[in-house]
């Protein structure tokens, strides 16, 4: 009887008041950045006129058909990279885990590139094009994660070095694959490939992003309630099991949800490095390491930072655009170095 009472408690009960206020500030900044992102860019709006004027004006088309889907996609991709980074770091008990470093993003990009270059030959009419691409990216991501699982003997503690090494090997393999595909691709396919390797949110449309946003949200709502179990996992797998955590199930959940969210993100926006690595560290530095705070915090901050990076990519060299992956890597790479030095000191 006591047992049934104690099951399924809400996640907020594991966060402290400071963490709740930090999460609240994250939400506020998310809203602020969202509205600045949709109003700033190479095409600026006069909101006043927009809401007074007719819905057929150029302003409203740019806003509702181009700008808002793009900013939304950036937010969701940022959220899924931040969240999967945080949960993978928890699962591997390693602060260096990141969907990019361990090769998951590369697997997804390879899956997507295969479809871009070979898809038109394999599927004559390219009928399912909008679906095949994300699915193939998800498959690529899942394949890499399964490889990791096998090589690290079920993500055991001993296997963490192997994990990063396997990640390096997979990244190398993926770049070979993408290299070959680049070599045999036509001019228009080459354009598409370049897009994957650098990442961009350009060209988002509602038809493409609505299913993605739905699936990403579902995966996030599936993942976040496991936060407490990820905390217990930090004591080690046997300890977590003795405390009542079904470790196998938890691993499965984290891995599948990361594969899905990262696969979809990469399929729609290409490879965007370092967000999954950097964001959870920032969140931890601000308020603590428990996952009931870390997971929602990383999703929120990831979304804000990604929208900001996308905004930068749009306004830095107006009216042209920088690939957003260049911006995140330019900021993330030095941060990664700092992190390594910090770990070495400790």
């Amino acid at each position: 009887m006591v047992r049934s009472l104690l099951k399924d408690s809400a996640i907020l009960q594991y966060t402290n008041p400071l963490q709740i206020s930090i999460l609240f500030i994250f939400v506020l900044s998310l809203i602020v950045i969202f509205f600045s992102s949709i109003s700033l860019g190479s095409f600026s709006f006069a909101f006043q006129e927009l809401f007074n004027g007719g819905s057929e004006s150029l302003d409203s088309i740019v806003l509702f058909e181009i700008r808002i889907p793009r900013v939304l996609l950036a937010a969701f991709v940022g959220a899924s990279l931040g969240l999967s980074g945080a949960s993978l770091q928890g699962l591997f008990r390693n602060p260096l885990a990141d969907p990019g470093l361990i090769g998951v993003s590369a697997g997804a990009a390879l899956g997507a590139s295969l479809i871009i270059v070979l898809g038109s030959d394999l599927i004559p009419d390219f009928i399912f094009g909008t679906l095949v691409l994300p699915l193939s990216a998800i498959l690529g991501a899942s394949l890499v994660i399964s490889l990791l699982y096998i090589f690290t003997q079920g993500f055991g503690y001993q296997g963490i070095t192997y994990m990063l090494l396997v990640g390096i090997a997979v990244n190398a393999f993926a770049s070979v694959g993408i290299g070959i595909l680049t070599y045999i691709s036509t001019d228009s396919e080459l354009r598409g490939l370049t897009f994957w390797t650098m990442g961009s949110f350009g060209g988002s449309s509602w038809q493409l992003i609505i299913p993605a946003l739905l699936i990403i949200s579902m995966a996030m709502f599936w993942m976040i309630p496991s936060a407490r179990k990820l905390d217990l996992l930090q004591l080690g797998e046997p300890e977590a099991y003795r405390l009542g955590v079904d470790v196998k199930k938890l691993k499965f959940k984290v891995i599948i949800s990361s594969a899905i969210t990262v696969g979809i993100s990469v399929s729609l926006s290409g490879m965007i490095g370092f967000v999954g690595l950097v964001v959870p560290h920032l969140v931890r530095l601000l308020g603590g390491v428990n996952h009931s705070y870390l997971l929602p915090g990383s999703a929120l901050l990831g979304a804000s930072l990604m929208m900001a990076a996308d905004l930068l990519s749009r306004i830095l060299i107006q009216p042209a655009e920088l690939p957003v992956g260049l911006i995140t890597s330019a900021i993330g790479a030095p941060f990664f170095l700092w992190l390594i030095f910090r770990i070495r000191k400790a």
């Binding site: 009472l5 407490r228 930090q234 004591l235 046997p238 405390l243 009542g244």
Partner: protein
């Protein structure tokens, strides 16, 4: 109420690590496993905790087969403490102790829970460490914190008397003699509250002083079990450990050189 282990054997690569062991852990009793390195003590503890599956034999917790008890339900009836792994992220000591309770903070009990944390951390002398970062603690302090966590795991909001068991693999490792004695007394106190307790110890005299029952393991087999004074005999001990032992009757004490 008791944990009953019947004819347990465990083989790895057709080598028998544990051979036909039958043992009971009763509520309100401290039973200590003694034996040299490689006798199979820790493997035995891992198997009855459910970490590993035995090759032959049955394990019953109050008449229910361990295999039929869900992972979460297992955590309510037994807590386990063994050598712990490092914690990578910077949790506070309080957070580590609270991890003993998978579903802490149900509002009906949260006040009681806070009191329980206070009381248990006081008993384990870690109260002054609660707000410190766990990773900055010494080995012995970490051990006491993990012990507090295993106690929290078996804590109950009300005066419920459902049977609970505690399996401790060398709980006093890394402890100074003061904290060693404090921990053993606390373990006795938990026994008096009705817990069934299984210990693995290396110090024969510590085991003789605090145990109700001794089970002597050697080479995967149960050599003898019973009251400390009947099991801890000069010839058996000397044979099992390969070391000359001398047992003094009054006060009961085992000397070895």
């Amino acid at each position: 109420m008791s944990v009953d282990i019947k004819n347990l054997s465990w083989e790895v690569d057709s080598k028998k690590i544990l051979d036909d062991i039958s043992l009971s852990i009763s509520s309100g009793e401290i039973i200590t496993i003694l034996g040299p390195n490689g006798a199979g003590k820790s493997s035995f503890l891992k198997i009855i905790s459910g970490d590993l599956k035995c090759t032959e034999g049955q394990i019953y917790f109050d008449q229910s087969n361990l295999n039929d008890i869900s992972i979460q339900d297992r955590s309510f009836i037994r807590s386990v403490m063994s050598q712990s792994q490092d914690v990578v992220y910077d949790f506070s000591t309080r957070e580590i102790i609270e991890m003993g309770w998978l579903d802490r903070g149900i509002s009906n009990y949260s006040e009681d829970f806070k009191k329980a944390i206070d009381q248990i951390s006081e008993e384990c002398s870690v109260k002054n460490l609660l707000e410190q970062s766990f990773n900055t603690l010494s080995g012995g302090e970490k051990r006491r914190v993990h012990f507090a966590r295993t106690l929290i795991q078996l804590w109950r909001p009300s005066g419920s008397d459902d049977p609970r068991y505690m399996f401790l693999d060398e709980p006093t490792a890394n402890l100074d003699i003061l904290h060693e004695q404090k921990m053993m007394k606390l373990i006795q106190k938990k026994r008096d509250e009705g817990l069934g307790i299984l210990l693995i110890l290396h110090d024969l005299n510590l085991a003789a002083k605090y145990s109700d029952q001794i089970a002597l393991f050697n080479d995967g087999k149960l050599v003898d079990k019973g009251l400390p004074k009947t099991v801890l005999k000069e010839d058996t001990l000397s044979a099992v450990y390969g070391l000359k032992m001398h047992v003094e009757k009054n006060p009961f004490r085992i000397n070895y050189y």
